[in-house]
């Protein structure tokens, strides 16, 4: 309205006026994108080629070429942690995504107590963006300073006695305990994923299932022929979200290392680590995303 009166939009087509309005709406974001994202991102890459020192007048750069990268390649600690983190990411992402899909399928629909069930399952979204849960696990449940080790394995321990009663070997026991502890961990990391998938599952039209039932489809077929293809775009988003989330998490050992180096004042080295790590993850996201998006089924097409 006001713009019309002041005459800015006069003499232009409707589409041109709309385009200007859109750019104005986006203007704050564009400024932020350039100043708080693009410039720092490029600066960060420049830093990896320099030696940094903070002075009263800002940052002093001292060009060193690829010295930081050379140091990184010979840093066995970092390479080991990096390799471990990248390898661990795969089973982790797969388990989280399938677990979330499973839970989303169970949580959908109408039944008594569903509000309560959902409230409990969304709890991780609320409290476990990292610090609280990590502190609880590492400092309290993990350490056995005061005999608390049994508390960490509380569920697993009771399982263990049960399973050893059946007569399983120690190795099998260890594997079982590991899986159970991991499940506990991962169920706490899948809050947002459950949310995403629940929304997708609820959007599947009922008529699809009704048609399938009339055609005599079993539950198994319904899942693979209807549910799975329909939520596959969301599955792609969920996979990528899980990858990103797991590599920025507070409990991630590479991130810990980067932050530790930063705290010790190795600014340029920590930037190098972060950049290399980011590149690795970008490649993973690219490959995984590329592979999955071929199989993804879009309804509108």
């Amino acid at each position: 309205m006001s713009r019309k009166k002041s005459g800015v939009g006069r003499g232009m087509t409707f589409a041109a006026r709309r385009a200007i309005a859109g750019r104005l709406f986006l203007l704050p974001w564009i400024i932020g994108f350039v100043y708080f994202f693009l410039i720092p991102f490029i600066q960060g890459i420049v830093y990896t080629l320099n030696k940094l020192s903070f002075t009263a007048n800002g940052v002093a750069l001292d060009f060193v070429g690829f010295a930081n990268y050379k140091k990184l390649i010979s840093d066995l600690d970092f390479l080991k942690v990096l390799a471990n983190a990248l390898i661990e990411m795969f089973p982790r992402v797969i388990i989280i995504v399938f677990f979330s899909l499973f839970v989303a399928l169970i949580l959908r629909g109408e039944y008594r107590g569903r509000t309560l069930a959902r409230a409990v399952f969304f709890l991780p979204v609320i409290i476990s963006s990292g610090v609280v849960i990590t502190v609880l696990q590492e400092n309290v449940m993990g350490t056995n300073l005061s005999g608390k080790e049994s508390a960490y394995l509380f569920q697993a321990a009771s399982f263990e006695t049960l399973l050893s009663g059946i007569g399983l070997s120690d190795q099998m026991l260890a594997a079982f305990t590991d899986i159970i502890n991991r499940l506990f961990d991962l169920s706490w990391k899948s809050g947002v994923q459950i949310l995403l998938l629940l929304a997708a599952v609820n959007n599947i039209p009922r008529s699809h299932y009704e048609a399938a039932v009339i055609e005599g489809a079993t539950e198994w077929e319904k899942f693979w022929k209807i549910t799975f293809p329909t939520v596959s775009p969301t599955l792609l988003v969920t996979v990528i979200y899980t990858v990103i989330d797991s590599f920025t998490d507070y409990s991630n050992s590479v991130m810990r290392m980067i932050e530790e180096k930063l705290g010790l004042g190795y600014y340029e080295y920590s930037s190098t680590m972060a950049f290399v790590y980011f590149l690795c993850v970008l490649v993973i996201i690219g490959v995984v995303g590329g592979l999955i998006s071929r199989k993804v089924f879009y309804q509108s097409e």
């Binding site: 589409a15 986006l26 600066q43 849960i133 502190v135 609820n202 959007n203 005599g216």
Partner: protein, 337 residues
């Protein structure tokens, strides 16, 4: 939806006897399904609530109970000793104040900026939109750890497109140092680069895109400008998205330890203090003086549990109050790729 989850309606069959048998088996199947689901939900509910129950059980345990093997969940003796120590070591009230000083304006600014950007991406056509959207996706993928050192340097001598230089001309000092003030948080939130802003813009965009175009067209034909259409017509209709993003935003600003640890120095937020609580406990105990190292060792777990509870509690209260709107709005948001 009931029939989808609890059992399949039997397909129509010719003979009535077969039909009855089938009905019976379908009923039994449904029952088994309900049973299995209930068991699963109970089990998972236990896993989800376990850390909170665990922390609750340990937090008020008196020292004498720590080594008592007969005490598993409910302590025999209660004490507030650990809680008091945790409050002191966390500097709870100061840290809470600092957290809120950062959180409240940042969340408000973030809501405004992400709503505007989401609306622009969803509802306007202009040439650069595609490439800017690719930029948005890129901001979601790049973690803040990649940007933190340059951001730190830039906030130390703040000069946003010459604005800091102008300021220094007028005040006669050097470029303003924004570190150790809440302004880095406010500025980044206001310009759509707050914590996880990219994700929220994406959610908002998805939601605005799903709105019927007739709504907007009608408003425009009636002579509403773009801004008025946005505020009067669009905003009231995206309430579910607003609730979702609001809850996320509060949660992530509350739990953020990384940016706060970088941009602030002496007066820290609650989450940052929680990460250092283990070390702070020794200092607090040393200051009190009456506690031996043996006592501290016995109390340590309890104090850490209290710390976790204290940090979780405000979010839990918010969640319990907003729980219904949150879960319902999330189902309607339809965040899909």
């Amino acid at each position: 939806m009931r029939n989808l989850v609890t059992g399949v309606k039997s397909p129509p069959s010719g003979r009535s006897g077969g039909l009855q048998k089938e009905k019976l088996s379908v009923k039994a199947m449904g029952f088994v399904k309900i049973l299995l689901r209930t068991l699963f939900l109970l089990g998972m509910g236990y896993v989800m609530l376990y850390p909170i129950l665990f922390a609750l059980s340990g937090a008020f345990k008196a020292r004498v109970d720590v080594y008592d093997p007969t005490v598993i969940w409910l302590p025999k003796h209660y004490s507030m000793e650990a809680m008091n120590l945790a409050m002191k070591s966390l500097k709870f009230w100061d840290a809470l104040k600092q957290t809120l000083i950062i959180l409240i304006p940042s969340v408000c600014l973030q809501m405004i900026s992400t709503l505007m950007a989401g609306y622009a991406f969803a509802r306007f056509k202009f040439r650069e939109r595609g490439i800017l959207f690719a930029g948005l996706i890129f901001t979601i993928i790049v973690p803040v750890q990649n940007l933190i050192v340059p951001l730190y340097a830039n906030f130390q001598s703040f000069d946003m497109f010459g604005l800091g230089y102008l300021y220094s001309l007028f005040s006669g000092s050097s470029l303003p140092n924004l570190l150790n003030t809440p302004f880095p948080f406010y500025l980044m939130a206001a310009f759509g680069m707050g914590i996880r802003s990219g994700l929220y813009i994406f959610i908002m965009r998805q939601f605005f895109r799903n709105m019927p175009p007739e709504l907007e067209e009608a408003a425009l034909i009636d002579g509403c400008g773009s801004v008025r259409t946005f505020i009067r017509v669009m905003l009231p209709n995206v309430k579910p998205a607003i609730v979702t993003v609001l809850v996320f935003s509060v949660v992530w600003y509350w739990n953020d330890y990384y940016q706060a640890a970088m941009f602030l120095m002496d007066n820290q937020t609650l989450s940052v203090n929680l990460t250092t609580l283990n070390g702070m406990l020794d200092i607090t105990a040393g200051n009190i003086g009456s506690l031996t190292s043996q006592d501290v060792m016995l109390l340590r777990d309890g104090v850490l549990e209290c710390g976790c509870l204290l940090v979780m509690l405000p979010l839990l209260i918010m969640y319990i109050l907003l729980q219904r709107q949150f879960t319902e709005s999330i189902e309607r948001t339809g965040i899909v790729g």
